[in-house]
């Protein structure tokens, strides 16, 4: 049975009519691929069919006017979406932003340079063309004498130098930019926030799922919490990425707090090993089972310029969720799980889209792009440290200063 557009929108039709007082924001989507469950699809679709937020199905006052896809793998949905929702797929980014005309013809750009077939470098980073995408957008802005807000999914670039250039472009041309992971905006169990200006003594973040996709998410989880410390964010002085037995040694020596690791893991719903076998709860740290479970542990040790230190641990084999713990003076232990809700709905991405929409509507990024600039740099430097044999690496370039909101 063919579903008409009106039927398809169902409950949202009323909201669409009500929100239509001002003309819809015209959005151009620039993505590496648009296939089922790619970031391009699940973020892009929310601007087409709406998304659940605050107990309502919200239809953004947005009209997707054009799409650029860099690759069309099997399962590509770009032309199907274009014909159903009344926009065109253009062969270049410039044409997409101009809707085939001579100058910029959209009010906002959604860049999703995640997924697709791209080579990796010797640090294991996938070379997604996010820098190139943004520079092509900026060239159109420049030629048109007008800039519009840009969302850039995940880290800005695999290269900090390029990430920095992207942020510089946005500052110089005066367009707001939002980026990063959905981890900072997803639900937290429990729903905690470190009070702004707190004296954070130590922090541990645990992630899983490999590099360089999931470690970025974990770094964003860590950074969105610790950026709230007193004095604001000052940037990173040095990093060291430890792997293998060095991680267990760092825990045994107290360089990484066992207490905070235990606290973070107490928030997990997914301890593996014996819990997988028969669902028994486990004190993964206290029982001493981590070295048996985690074959390739990695610790991303971060020294900030103000003297604060924090560690992100990738513990594949121990848990399958993202958990955080910090010791905050005067508050005590603050720990939580960043909830990644199930596939296919991945409702956490609706929370991210709400923030993107907010920037498209107001022209202001709801949180600083510098967070993601810094996490992009931390990630690259940590992978460089590992490449050089887990050396401690001074990172004078990572003097990224900003204030949390």
């Amino acid at each position: 049975m063919a579903v008409t557009r009106r039927e398809f929108f169902g409950f949202a039709a009323g909201a669409l009519a009500m929100g239509a007082e001002r003309p819809p924001i015209r959005v151009a989507i620039v993505t590496t691929i648009y296939k089922y469950l790619s970031h391009g699809q699940h973020i892009g679709d929310r601007f087409l069919i709406g998304y659940p937020i605050d107990g309502e199905w919200h239809q953004p006052n947005v009209k997707v006017v054009s799409l650029y896809v860099d690759q069309k793998p099997e399962g590509d949905l770009s032309s199907a979406r274009a014909s159903e929702f009344g926009f065109k797929v253009y062969p270049t980014i410039a044409e997409a932003l101009c809707c085939g005309g001579p100058k910029l013809a959209c009010d906002a750009v959604l860049i999703v340079g995640e997924h697709g077939d791209y080579p990796s470098n010797d640090k294991g980073q996938k070379l997604y063309p996010r820098y190139e995408f943004l520079q092509q957008c900026a060239a159109v802005f420049k030629a048109s004498g007008r800039s519009v807000p840009v969302y850039n999914d995940k880290h800005l670039s695999y290269s900090f130098e390029r990430a920095q250039a992207m942020v510089k472009t946005s500052h110089e041309m005066g367009f707001p930019m939002l980026g990063g992971s959905s981890i900072p905006v997803t639900w937290r169990l429990p729903d905690v926030e470190i009070p702004l200006g707190s004296h954070i003594e130590d922090a541990v973040m645990v992630g899983e799922g490999g590099s360089d996709a999931m470690d970025f998410h974990a770094l964003e989880g860590l950074q969105c919490m610790v950026e709230r410390r007193r004095g604001g964010e000052t940037g990173v002085k040095a990093v060291q990425m430890m792997v293998g037995d060095d991680v267990w040694k760092a825990l045994d020596s107290g360089r990484i707090s066992k207490k905070l690791l235990s606290s973070a893991l107490s928030r997990s719903d997914t301890p593996l090993g014996l819990s997988e076998l028969d669902s028994r709860p486990q004190d993964l740290v206290g029982d001493g089972v981590l070295p048996g479970l985690v074959k390739q542990p990695a610790a991303y040790a971060i020294e900030y310029r103000d003297g604060f230190k924090a560690t992100m641990l990738m513990l594949d084999g121990a848990v399958k969720d993202f958990n955080f713990a910090a010791m905050v003076r005067g508050v005590g232990n603050v720990s939580t799980q960043f909830l990644l809700t199930p596939v296919p709905n991945v409702t956490y991405s609706a929370r991210l889209v709400q923030k993107i929409e907010q920037m498209f509507m107001t022209g202001k990024a709801p949180y600083p792009i510098e967070r993601t600039l810094l996490t992009s740099g931390i990630l690259e430097s940590c992978l460089e440290s590992k490449k050089q044999g887990s050396v401690r690496l001074e990172t004078p370039a990572l003097k990224v200063e900003y204030r949390a909101v």
Partner: protein
């Protein structure tokens, strides 16, 4: 001071059985409030009614030598001494193979086991707090007798689902004294099983309304085509149903290639092939509807319309279900935490009357379905109680 002693009486102790989730937390501890917590109790006696090839009780007893498995309920409670020798009882009569009634209810032996437990209390001249997992009994008369017995013997009786105490996404508590006009829960699962969880999800919220709980006047069940007709007729509010669905994390996409979309009613019909609803009215006029929509969602979503000011509130009562995505059913952790309160204080942290009412609603829902969806008057469910002012769901 020595730890208080507990005995556990369970139907079956296998992976993912309620007994495993609950008793394991008293044996092995659990993550709580940012640390790994070991309940300060000694679990010393265990009775398991059915021991199959997948049994875990022997493994647990080997690892926890303080716990002895006894062949009788009396043995577990008296530790073989003939006299009650524990300070609290964990009773989990869920899962295992038991015959069904003609209406399809599994006859879990909660009432007979309860009788055996209180017979030990009576013979010993001493009663201790008792936790009864899920509803009191599939049979209303037995449930009422269990409730009356606990009252007359004066021991703390706690029961019910973990839904009222688990995480809420977002965290939301019904304000005390709220004017609740209508409430719904859109959830999933089977009749005489997860319907009870859906009813507890609604009741733990609406019991906080203005005037307190007044009990239920009537219930009517709808199934299949009757469900869709009731939805079209406005038996429950479509906007509340939508609000609840907007809290779900597991909406089945109605169209291929889309990962998260709100289906139309026509699309819902293709996804939820055999939906069930229980609509019921409280004595103060509050109308509630519990919907089992298998095929559409796999979570528990609540929505209510409040008056003065008029607004819709909604949340998901979150079950991190070990269905491949998690390994621990951590919603049993707040339940265990509340059970600890029962054993510490001798009193249930929330009213047993909640579960007496939801037990009665579950049984009447089954009756109404069995009778083809007739409206059932429920004079026996005129149950009054006041909710505790303190909120009991997990936020720690």
């Amino acid at each position: 001071m020595a730890n208080k002693k507990l005995a556990a009486v369970v139907t079956v102790y296998r992976k993912y059985s309620h007994a495993q989730h609950i008793v394991d937390r008293f044996l092995d501890g659990y993550g709580w409030n940012g640390e790994y917590h070991h309940p300060p109790f000694d679990l010393v006696g265990l009775y398991v009614d059915q021991v199959g090839a997948d049994d875990l009780s022997k493994e647990r007893a080997q690892r926890h030598p303080a716990m002895t498995i006894y062949p009788t309920i009396e043995g577990a409670l008296t530790l073989g001494t003939g006299k009650l020798a524990v300070d609290g009882v964990i009773f989990v009569g869920e899962h295992g193979t038991y015959p069904k009634t003609e209406k399809g209810q599994v006859q879990y032996p909660r009432y007979p086991f309860f009788k055996e437990i209180v017979s030990v209390y009576q013979k010993s001249g001493r009663s201790v707090p008792l936790f009864n997992d899920k509803h009191l009994s599939w049979k209303w008369e037995w449930a009422k007798e269990m409730y009356d017995t606990a009252k007359s013997m004066g021991f703390g009786l706690m029961a019910g689902s973990s839904l009222p105490v688990t995480w809420r996404i977002p965290k939301y508590e019904m304000p005390m004294g709220a004017r609740v006009r209508e409430a719904v829960c859109v959830c999933y699962g089977g009749v005489d099983s997860y319907d009870f969880h859906g009813l507890e999800s609604i009741q733990c919220m609406v019991e906080r309304r203005r005037g307190g709980e007044s009990g239920v006047k009537w219930l009517q069940a709808y199934r299949g085509p009757a469900f869709w007709k009731a939805l079209a007729d406005g038996v429950w509010s479509r906007d509340l149903m939508t609000a609840a669905l907007c809290r779900s994390h597991t909406l089945t996409p109605a169209r291929e290639g889309f990962n998260d979309m709100m289906p139309t009613v026509e699309q819902m019909k293709t996804l939820a092939k055999d939906p069930v609803a229980y609509t019921y009215e409280h004595h103060d006029g509050l109308r509630c509807t519990m919907m089992l929509m298998n095929g559409l969602v796999k979570d528990f979503n609540f929505a209510a319309r409040l008056d003065n000011p008029s607004k819709i509130v909604s949340t998901q009562l979150y079950l991190p279900m070990p269905d491949g995505r998690t390994t621990l059913a951590t919603f049993f952790s707040p339940l265990a935490w509340n059970m600890e309160k029962l054993y510490e204080t001798g009193r249930s942290p929330y009213p047993i009357e909640r579960t007496l009412l939801t037990t009665g609603l579950t049984a009447i829902g089954v009756d109404s379905l069995f009778a083809g969806g007739v409206k059932m008057e429920t004079p026996h469910l005129k149950i009054h109680y006041e909710a505790p002012a303190a909120s009991t769901f997990e936020r720690a």
